[in-house]
């Protein structure tokens, strides 16, 4: 059976993916940039637009990291404004479960779902670090091992709030003067929840929203993250965009669903993906090399190396060989506020691999970093990229992709104009929206009334 592809647009975040020095590169803060990307995505019939979040500016060697885009707006506020300039596009926001409270987050997502006519999605992320906690009332209160437990119960609690209205309570009958029917007047929104993390009770103030609750995304890659997704998420924002890694991840996560009484179609796997297009494959390949050199300057290469080495390497020449000294395997102190450093579980082994490769291929620090980090997922002429995307989806490496352009805000325009029509011709991507809610776009059944 031919699978339908799901596509989404990721507003570029604060990584070195974004080539901010390009003359076409616009503001990362002005609303016009967000509106541009959202309108392009909606014109191309994408499923949704995705926003990441970071609650403290990154630091390296004790100073605010200044080589990448710095600064972003508030997620909820931008998404609510985007609801005004789009009508079908899903609006997905990353919101932390550690530095928020369930009642407020539930209220914000229910509001967004109302204001957008059923287009809200929540990417549930966790963090525990005291570094981020310094911006919040409770500081770094949560031990690392408790973060998923809190996230699970946080999510479950918001569901109780979303379900505290059934959706039929409001009469607003001008004749009788009744706003709520009986017995809703005394019951609607009533909830009581008590566990180790939350002890709350009262009445939830937002009536049931069009989707019932936002679509739930999960982005963690750990064992706990995968299990959390299998139990509770509608979609996973994954890192595994290649054929082999993607298929392994896809099979693993979809295989966990049965334990929770869920079907494979009820959890979509959507890896992040970058792309470079050209008139020909050769031209695209050349362009991709150029973009990689722009993304990895000499300073950026040293910064990447420091993140693995966990040492100040500012004295090294990015055009010279890798350091002879080994990474500091102790607690990570060089880079703060960056989730990626946690992926290096065995820095000594990775460093050994990188050194071996640099020696074998005679690569400088910068050349090596260009090779081992952030290669574009799709490179080629539009027909090549369309085929690559379709092949991966049909091979069960994913259900689609969340595309991250390297130019803000126009970096998706060419993809929308050149690649999407080819996918539509193949019959693997919608030519128009069939429903109005994000659940409709994702092929998820409407939630039953509680």
């Amino acid at each position: 059976m031919t699978k339908q592809i799901h596509l989404a647009a990721h507003f570029p975040g604060v990584n070195n993916t974004t080539v901010w020095s390009d003359p076409r590169s616009g503001s990362h803060i002005e609303f016009g940039s967000f509106a541009h990307l959202a309108r392009t995505a909606e014109r191309a019939k994408f499923d949704f637009l995705f926003l990441a979040e970071g609650l403290r500016l990154r630091e390296q060697n004790g100073q605010i990291y200044d080589l990448d885009v710095v600064g972003r707006p508030d997620t909820f506020t931008v998404l609510a404004a985007l609801a005004a300039v789009t009508s079908r596009l899903g609006l997905a926001g990353t919101i932390n479960s550690t530095f928020n409270e369930p009642y407020e987050v539930a209220r914000q997502f229910a509001t967004l779902d109302h204001l957008s006519g059923g287009r809200a999605a929540w990417n549930v992320v966790t963090s525990w670090d005291a570094f981020t906690g310094e911006n919040f009332r409770r500081g770094g209160f949560l031990p690392q091992e408790a973060r998923y437990e809190r996230a699970r119960t946080f999510l479950k609690t918001t569901w109780e709030l979303f379900d505290s209205w059934r959706g039929e309570e409001i009469l607003a009958d001008k004749e009788s003067g009744a706003f709520l029917g009986e017995p809703s007047a005394a019951r609607a929104g009533r909830f009581e929840h008590s566990d180790a993390h939350f002890d709350i009770a009262g009445r939830f103030s937002v009536p049931r929203s069009p989707q019932g609750r936002p679509v739930i995304f999960q982005a963690g890659d750990s064992e706990e993250g995968r299990e959390f997704a299998a139990s509770s998420a509608d979609a996973i924002f994954s890192r595994h965009g290649t054929l082999d890694e993607g298929r392994a991840f896809y099979a693993d996560v979809k295989g966990r669903l049965a334990r929770y009484g869920r079907l494979p179609s009820q959890l979509l796997i959507l890896p992040a993906a970058t792309f470079v297009l050209g008139d020909t494959d050769a031209e695209a390949a050349e362009l991709a090399r150029l973009v990689r050199r722009q993304q990895v300057s000499g300073q950026t290469a040293i910064a990447f190396l420091e993140q693995l080495w966990n040492r100040d390497l500012s004295g090294y020449d990015p055009d010279g060989p890798l350091p002879d000294i080994d990474p500091d395997p102790g607690e990570h102190t060089v880079a703060q506020g960056r989730a990626s450093v946690r992926m290096y579980t065995d820095p000594l082994a990775v460093a050994a691999r990188w050194r071996a490769r640099a020696e074998a291929e005679k690569l400088s620090i910068r050349e090596l970093i260009i090779e081992v980090t952030g290669r574009q997922t799709f490179v080629g002429a539009p027909a090549t990229v369309a085929a690559q995307i379709n092949d991966l989806v049909q091979a069960d490496a994913s259900d689609g992709f969340i595309l991250v352009p390297h130019i803000t805000p126009g970096g998706l325009d060419e993809f929308a104009e050149e690649v999407v029509p080819l996918l539509q011709e193949r019959g693997v991507f919608r030519t128009d929206y069939q429903g109005s809610t994000l659940r409709d776009h994702l092929g998820l059944d409407p939630l039953p009334a509680p």
Binding site: Q63, D66, P73, A80, A84, V85, H114, A178, P207, T300
Partner: protein
């Protein structure tokens, strides 16, 4: 959206959006349920051009870091039209929705001093965070590879009994520099909060003499705190029920009261009458020192339309209200300058 569009057609300065966490009422005949006011303001921003948007933030149960970036972002999406009304909540029922603090039931209208002190700290933090990026911090210097000049970003290092916040904000300095901060007060400590921390204060005079006394009290408090008293704008709150004649307005109000089963009461003076008589009253209170008025329509949309379509033309005839809306920020509309970042003076140093 219709309501805000109507207010914008009437050339009003700004619209405030009420908010609170709890459900408003247990009664079947009252409206129950409301959406987050910051997000309503953001949803309305792209479809309006001139009107200021002032949602409510309950400071007692929320994070100043989140609120600061939310209002900064509202300022971006509205092109410099954002404000915020800060509100403390002593309600035990609202506290139970969060389960983090337990409040004893207080008497009506009583606000514990600690909640006002927390509100003052909250405003200090959101203001410092708005200033934590200097205006020209984003440099995009391709030669050195630096996107920002980190010497122009500042830790705010606020430490207090209710929260400590390190900063800087994740959101660059908003278009107005400092979005408009407002608060409602009926006396005492809330007046002090307005005098020291707010750009706009909503007050509830009973008559012109009372208005004069309130203005004097708040201006004196501002001066006592070392602030130029002319930089605080005081708006008189009035609940209004309008009609084509005094008799018609009174009859309409009586019908509404009968329908509700009780006489409408408010913390603000309730005005029932014609737009002309209301214009007289506003002119008189304006002479008593109030900068403007926050009119609470008794019925939406009826009384709002009476304001925009009858009261506004009446005030315009008297030369007391603008006849067109030049583009500009909410601060500019209120005659407030755009302040430099408080950290900008510390040239070159990284705090």
């Amino acid at each position: 959206m219709d309501v805000v569009a109507e207010a914008e057609r009437g050339l009003l300065d700004f619209v405030t959006i009420e908010d609170g966490f709890g459900l408003q009422s247990d009664r079947a005949d009252r409206v129950a349920g409301r959406l987050d006011s910051v997000l309503i303001a953001a949803r309305v921003a792209p479809v309006t051009q001139h009107i200021g948007l002032v949602p409510t933030v309950v400071v007692t149960h929320t994070e100043p870091f989140h609120a600061s970036k939310a209002i900064a972002t509202l300022d971006y999406v509205s092109g410099g039209r954002a404000g915020v009304r800060v509100r403390a909540s002593p309600s035990p029922a609202e506290a139970a929705l969060f389960g983090r603090r337990v409040f004893a039931a207080a008497g009506r209208g009583e606000l514990p001093p600690s909640l006002i002190a927390e509100a003052a700290d909250y405003v200090e933090v959101i203001r410092r965070l708005w200033d934590s990026w200097e205006d020209d911090a984003e440099i995009r210097d391709a030669a050195t590879g630096r996107f920002i000049d980190r010497a122009r970003l500042h830790y705010i290092d606020f430490a207090g009994p209710y929260f400590s916040v390190r900063g800087p904000s994740i959101t660059p300095r908003p278009p107005q520099g400092q979005p408009v901060v407002s608060a409602l007060g009926h006396g005492g400590l809330p007046y002090r909060l307005i005098a020291t921390a707010a750009d706009v204060g909503y007050v509830t005079p009973r008559d012109a003499g009372h208005a004069r006394a309130i203005v004097a009290e708040i201006r004196a408090a501002a001066e006592g705190a070392g602030r130029d008293p002319q930089t605080v704008r005081l708006f008189g709150d009035l609940a209004v029920f309008l009609g084509g004649s005094a008799v018609a307005a009174a009859a309409r109000k009586a019908r509404l009261d009968e329908r509700a089963g009780s006489t409408y009461t408010s913390d603000a003076t309730v005005f029932t009458g014609t737009p002309e008589r209301l214009a007289d009253l506003l002119a008189e209170w304006h002479r008593a020192g109030l900068s403007g008025f926050r009119l609470r329509p008794g019925v939406i949309p009826d009384d709002l339309e009476a304001i925009t379509r009858a009261l506004v033309p009446e005030l315009q005839r008297r030369g007391l209200f603008r006849t067109s809306c030049p583009p500009g920020t909410l601060r500019a509309r209120l005659g407030l300058p755009r302040p430099a970042s408080r950290y900008a003076a510390v040239e070159g140093s990284r705090t």
